[in-house]
């Protein structure tokens, strides 16, 4: 009986340990789930879906020339990145996507690991939200939620990235032109 109790205790401990490792691993992963937005493709007039995983990012960093100045720049830019994932939808009519669609993304960004960058705006119309995942001293990833009445774009960059890097990535690797810039805080009267 005692042996059985010991076995059950050990098994429970193992299970708990396994669960906590899995939760931590997920928490540290800056890749968010975007598949739930796929249904919007049925209503959208334009859909773009880009998936560049870690292997492809490494490939780019490895095989771009170290001599060509343009390629050197790109190499530096993608170095260390573990993935770029983009989903973008354009609609003919207002309201073809719902707040619930955006909420399914925001919900994932409510964990303590993510923080919203406040002083950010876009040159484009509509609203833009930028979220950064940072653990200890390192940035783990970034998410941009750009919305307009007829447009919804989600950009998820996994790996060490900041706003400066993001603006350099615009127009490349499937990252759309977002026109993101830092805004100065308004002076208090």
């Amino acid at each position: 009986m005692r042996t059985l109790f010991k076995t059950v205790k050990l098994a429970s401990l193992g299970l708990l340990l396994g669960l906590s490792v899995s939760v931590t691993a997920r928490a540290q992963n800056a890749r968010i789930e975007m598949g739930q937005l796929d249904h919007l493709g049925a209503k959208a007039s334009e859909t773009v879906d880009v998936n560049i995983d870690e292997r492809l990012m490494h490939l780019t960093a490895k095989f771009l020339s170290g001599k060509d100045p343009d390629e050197v720049k790109i190499k530096e830019l993608v170095n260390g990145l573990k993935g770029i994932y983009v989903k973008s939808f354009e609609f003919e009519r207002d309201g073809d996507y719902s707040q619930a669609d955006i909420e399914s993304i925001r919900l994932q960004l409510r964990s303590p690991a993510w923080s919203k960058i406040l002083n950010v705006s876009s040159k484009k119309e509509g609203s833009v939200e930028v979220y950064l995942m940072s653990n200890a001293a390192q940035v783990g990833g970034l998410v941009v939620v750009a919305t307009d009445l007829k447009e919804l774009t989600i950009v998820n960059i996994v790996g060490p990235v900041d706003l400066e890097k993001l603006s350099q990535l615009e127009g490349q690797f499937g990252v759309p032109e977002l026109g993101i810039e830092r805004t100065k805080p308004k002076p208090k009267n």
Binding site: D38, G41, T47, V48, N51, I52, L56, K62, F63, G174
Partner: protein, 183 residues
């Protein structure tokens, strides 16, 4: 009569050989062509002779971002299927076709990029697969009346270069595969 029958049968077998081989291999290229055929109720055509000749040639005119003319696909790696002057009505929208295609290639191919435009009635799908030292790329482009399925092997350097502008990747690979050097 028998004398005539045997060569006729042999000739018939030889004539139909390429398609039968592709089907027998059970490759994903053939499966994707079948998905297009079944979903849209269309039939693909064989590779036009000129395009075939162009594919086998050593050099091709593919314009890359840097402006240099260079072959994208590895020689002999190109598989092509054309659908010309047929109706690709978006019955059930793009979503159903996209889901069917993704399901058919799931687990073996990375859905690298999909660009769908309802206004232009155009769809481009690019899937990638690791093929040892090279990468295999499968491109499906569907327009209102035409469609193309292309599978090529790319050197990692070429893929790295094309990835900088994924939106144009499908078009660049398709142009490369269908360009005749003598043009």
């Amino acid at each position: 009569m028998k004398r005539l029958l045997v060569p006729t049968l042999l000739l018939t077998l030889l004539w139909s050989a390429p398609d039968s081989v592709a089907e027998a291999k059970g490759d994903d290229f053939g499966a994707v062509v079948k998905v297009v055929e079944e979903f849209y109720g269309v039939k693909h055509k064989g590779i036009p002779f000129l395009a075939k000749a162009g594919i086998k040639a050593a050099t091709a005119a593919a314009h890359l971002a840097g402006g240099s003319k260079k072959r994208l696909a590895e020689a002999g790696s190109v598989k092509l299927a054309f659908f010309e002057d047929q109706q690709f009505s978006a019955k059930g929208g793009f979503s159903d076709f996209r889901a069917t295609l993704k399901a058919r290639l799931a687990g073996r191919w990375l859905p690298f990029i999909q660009v769908l435009s309802l206004n232009d009635e155009a769809q481009t799908y690019v899937f990638l697969r690791d093929a040892g030292p090279k990468y295999t790329v499968l491109v499906v482009t569907i327009e209102k009346h035409d469609a193309t399925v292309v599978q090529v092997n790319l050197a990692p350097q070429t893929l790295a270069m094309l990835m900088q502008n994924p939106n144009d990747m499908g078009r660049a690979i398709m142009d490369d595969a269908t360009t005749d050097d003598r043009e």
